[in-house]
């Protein structure tokens, strides 16, 4: 079996950001300790059940940087011992607020070689509106610490369409990212999710309208591309060779194993996830079936998120048949409008096409 990606979910946050609908909550140190122990046990158990290796590890949340260094170290070594051979990509999501130089030195020493920092905006007013506690200086310092600790592969999260934001404020944020010399940027358009404080106050949020957000997106793509950060997925940009190998597994429809409350998995053609219940996880992890995965339709849906798109060669080797004729025919219609690029080998979406990808997928799949 091909190498899988291993994902560990840390569902703890010091405070909840008003736009976030991820599973996370505030917890005491004692429970965090129990949770980490349960994770280690589950990693060991799963490694016995699933006979395969991982070449990427991603510790996400929540706020994984809330863990003590020693806890992170325990998780990383369990994962490495049980699943990884040689050097893999090991990412830790970090909140720039309050992290120290020692923290980065220690995680670097135990094998973490990539960090993902939530910047969202370089404008402190916008960051505050998003409930982010770090200011710009703290983000700068975190990046510097990480780089000095030998972690050169740093990704920043940037948000498009923040309440009150403008093209000018976005330019400032992107300029900040570039000036920090990071190799990877994830640029997400804010989506107002139900069950979040933002949803309740959506009418009063001063959100940029869809047309403005579309302009922001196209501007960001252009701006980053011109500065050596190439778009490789709808919301992701990187210097050559610094694309997130772990996240690419999702979009390449490759297998991954998620451990921890609310973590999702795709193993042996089955999708399943662990219940959204950290306390239950500590007692006994419970998995819920989420149906079959890996159909051509799903594969195409995911592949078309990538700038590489869907290729005849890959489709053929994976499914034994080429890109269906009907898909190509429908794609041509969008090509006329500049939303899709297609030739004998490839079908892929343009930036304008990415912006309308839901509609396009519903039409061509």
């Amino acid at each position: 079996m091909e190498n899988i990606g291993l994902y560990l979910h840390i569902p703890f946050c010091a405070s909840k950001c008003p736009y976030c609908d991820f599973y996370s909550f505030r917890s005491d140190r004692a429970f965090i300790g129990q949770y980490v122990d349960a994770m280690r046990a589950e990693i060991i158990k799963k490694s016995g059940e699933i006979n395969c290796k991982a070449d990427t590890l991603y510790i996400g949340g929540g706020t994984p940087s809330l863990l003590d260094f020693s806890q992170i170290s325990l998780l990383v070594s369990a994962a490495k011992n049980r699943f990884m051979e040689g050097e893999g990509e090991i990412t830790l999501e970090c909140n720039p607020h309050g992290v120290t130089r020692e923290f980065f030195e220690q995680i670097s020493a135990c094998g973490v070689n990539r960090i993902s920092l939530g910047l969202q905006s370089a404008n402190d007013g916008e960051r505050r509106r998003l409930g982010r506690r770090a200011d710009c200086e703290e983000v700068k310092r975190a990046i510097e610490y990480a780089q000095k600790s030998g972690i050169e592969n740093i990704s920043l999260d940037v948000m498009l369409g923040i309440p009150g934001s403008t093209l000018e404020s976005l330019e400032k944020t992107l300029g900040f990212c570039v000036s920090q010399g990071v190799f990877h940027i994830s640029c997400y358009m804010l989506k107002i999710e139900e069950n979040t404080p933002f949803y309740k106050m959506r009418e009063r949020l001063d959100l940029p309208d869809d047309d403005t957000v579309a302009d922001m997106y196209l501007f960001a793509c252009e701006y980053l591309e011109n500065r050596g950060l190439k778009q490789y997925e709808i919301s992701n940009f990187a210097r050559d060779g610094y694309e997130s190998r772990h996240n690419l597994k999702y979009w390449n429809c490759e297998p991954y194993l998620g451990v921890g409350a609310s973590a999702h998995s795709f193993i042996n053609g089955r999708r399943f996830y662990c219940k959204n219940d950290a306390h239950g996880f500590v007692r006994k992890p419970e998995y819920i079936c989420d149906g079959d995965g890996g159909s051509f339709e799903e594969y195409a849906m995911l592949k078309l998120r990538l700038t590489n798109g869907l290729t005849e060669t890959e489709v053929k080797s994976k499914f034994g048949f080429g890109i269906p004729k009907s898909l190509r025919e429908k794609a041509v219609k969008f090509a006329d409008r500049g939303l899709v690029l297609t030739d004998g080998e490839r079908v892929r979406l343009t930036r304008e096409g990415f912006l309308l990808s839901n509609t396009i997928l519903a039409e061509i799949l």
């Binding site: 709808i234 795709f266 995965g293 309308l356």
Partner: protein, 601 residues
């Protein structure tokens, strides 16, 4: 002439919500017509829709046994009537089957439009009126005032009438006594040739049509050959009997003065039309009972299946509904926009809504309906006249000499402080003021002639909201009058959407066109290209809006936990596309059609 002394045939008439069905329930209980365990509210309104809307759609009849205070046993035949102007003809036939009518008046609301309209209808049929003042349990009840109002306004004695609460049951027994005392017994005309009035008919899949009749003259029994005097159709009677509250009770025969049912393996209700007279082939009556009319639909609209594959199912459903509803008409039609469907005719807008809801609920169909239309008479330059109920058949304006539209005579009853608001509304709806009468200090009767097409959409709703619910409204057809009509076409991306075309008075064309353009703009989702929305009269565009091109429809984040959700979203989006109507390249959701139909004020 001899009387059938122990029989009383009566109906109950009232304004909507004055408690007709509740009183009927109590009468059933008092006469032990229903076992307690079978009792449910508004027993006679046994269609789900009737209960939900609190209205009676079909007529119902039930035979009650009552031992009166004089110690004698009586048979009381209650014939319930529909309570809406759309069904006035059915009401009139039910009343023709009775000798008396219980008039219910709400003790707080007093006399309302339908109180008067129904009372006049009953008086036209020479019925003895038994006034009853209901809802005396309400805090706002003022039975004395209302009794005086009934005497002043309607001119029938009411001061000694029973004051009851159908809800609590208080004093309801007095109503039965009044019926026995005041309603005249029917004549004994058993020796005459049979004449029985059909006041309702219901299709039953086992017995065929069950014909509800009031026997006026003669007798009928199983084995007789019955003949419908209007249609000439003949059938062999299989069974006769009486309607009980929850079942049918077979009898040896039905004779003059009685109310009952006949079955004769009749396949469709159109063979047993309401108002027709039943006689026998052996000894036919020379003349039918008066009052039969073949009623013509007043309002038409196109009904299309949302999913073209349901066309046959829609046809089956309409056929089944027609088995039970002779006033529903339909014929196939084709629309460039909507594909294959049916042009359906209705007695009025309520009838239309009821049929539409029954199709959706009972037959599980998703429907798209077009703007309702009335029947216009178009006089052409070659002196011929065409009747148009479908805007797509509207002739070339150059060939039209003049047009006529149907009008109604309407009465609106309301407290005097709302006269201004009502006049504004009627003015706005092109009404011609005919006069105003003060019924008493608190109530005026405004008479207007209104074009039917101005009241079929939302007139009643607007009237209610402008008068805070105080006004009531009643109308009857008056005929046709000359009118300046134009046809409005809706164009999306340059293509005419035939299903959205409609005929309107030229004075209203601009305002309406602007509203429709705005509505469509708000209800057509942005698509991948810009869509011009134009409203045109002939080739002249009189209103225009643009649906801007959509630029953003994307799931920005898609990681391990989002894939299944994304897949489901994609399925949903595809499903949603299926439910869209495609016009050329433009996709229009059904909501947009509905929005155009329901233009707000």
């Amino acid at each position: 002439m001899a009387k059938k002394d122990n029989i009383r045939n009566f109906s109950i008439i009232a304004h909507i919500d004055h408690g007709k069905s509740t009183l009927a329930d109590r009468l059933l209980e008092l006469t032990n017509s229903v076992a307690k365990r079978d009792m449910e509210e508004q027993l006679l309104d046994n269609m789900e829709l009737e209960r939900e809307r609190g209205i009676t759609i079909k007529a119902h009849a039930v035979k009650l046994d009552y031992k009166a205070n004089d110690g004698r046993e009586y048979v009381l035949n209650l014939i319930d009537t529909p309570g809406h102007v759309d069904f006035n003809y059915e009401v009139s036939r039910s009343l023709a089957a009775c000798e008396g009518a219980v008039l219910i008046v709400d003790a707080s609301q007093g006399v309302e439009a339908q109180t008067l309209a129904n009372t006049y209808l009953a008086l036209d049929h020479n019925l003895e009126i038994v006034p009853v003042i209901n809802k005396i349990d309400l805090p706002a009840a003022d039975p004395e005032r209302v009794a005086h109002e009934v005497e002043d306004v309607i001119g029938i004695p009411c001061l000694d009438s029973p004051r009851v609460s159908a809800k609590t049951g208080e004093n309801v027994g007095a109503v039965l006594e009044e019926i026995v005392k005041l309603v005249p017994p029917p004549d004994d005309r058993d020796a005459e040739p049979l004449r029985a009035l059909i006041f309702d008919s219901v299709y039953d899949s086992y017995r065929g049509v069950i014909v509800y009749v009031r026997v006026m003259d003669g007798k009928i029994k199983p084995g007789d050959t019955m003949r419908m005097m209007a249609t000439g159709a003949e059938f062999t009677v299989v069974e006769t009997g009486y309607m009980r509250a929850t079942s049918l009770e077979p009898s040896k025969q039905l004779s003059s003065g009685e109310v009952g049912y006949i079955t004769a393996s009749i396949k469709t209700v159109s063979d047993a039309r309401v108002g027709d007279t039943v006689t026998t082939a052996q000894n036919p009556a020379s003349q039918a009972l008066p009052g039969y009319k073949k009623i013509n639909p007043m309002v038409f609209c196109g009904i299309y299946p949302a999913d073209g594959a349901d066309y046959e199912n829609l046809r089956d459903a309409l056929e089944k509904l027609q088995l039970n509803d002779a006033s529903l008409s339909f014929e196939p039609e084709t629309s460039g926009a909507l594909g294959f469907g049916f042009r359906c005719g209705f007695l009025g807008l309520l009838h239309l809504e009821i049929i539409q809801e029954r199709l959706e609920r009972e037959y599980n169909l998703d429907l798209v309906t077009t703007v309702p239309s009335v029947v216009y008479k178009i006089h052409l330059t070659d002196k011929s006249v065409v009747e148009i109920d479908n805007p797509s058949h509207y002739p070339d304006p150059a060939s039209i000499e003049y047009s006529e539209e149907p009008v109604v005579e309407a009465h609106i009853y309301a407290p005097p402080e709302y006269v201004g608001a009502i006049m504004d509304l009627c003015q706005d709806r092109r009404g011609a003021y005919e006069g105003m009468t003060y019924l008493d200090a608190d109530r005026v009767d405004l008479k207007y002639v209104l074009p039917l097409n101005e009241i079929i959409y939302d007139f009643f709703d607007v009237l209610k909201s402008r008068t805070r619910g105080y006004a009531s409204f009643d109308y009857e057809m008056k005929g046709y009058q000359k009118s300046q009509l134009v046809k409005l076409d809706v164009l999306l991306n340059g293509d005419i959407i035939d299903a959205l075309s409609f005929i309107i008075h030229s004075d209203k064309a601009y305002t309406r066109a602007r509203k429709i353009a705005e509505k469509l703009k708000d209800n057509i989702p942005r698509q991948m290209f810009e869509i011009p929305v134009q409203i045109a009269v002939g080739s002249k565009v009189i209103a225009r809006e643009t649906v801007k091109a959509m630029r953003k429809d994307v799931l920005a984040k898609c990681y391990g936990g989002d894939i299944t959700r994304k897949k489901k979203l994609l399925e949903k989006q595809k499903e949603g596309k299926k439910r869209m109507r495609k016009f050329g390249t433009v996709e229009v959701p059904q909501d947009a059609f509905m929005a155009v139909l329901k233009l707000d004020e």
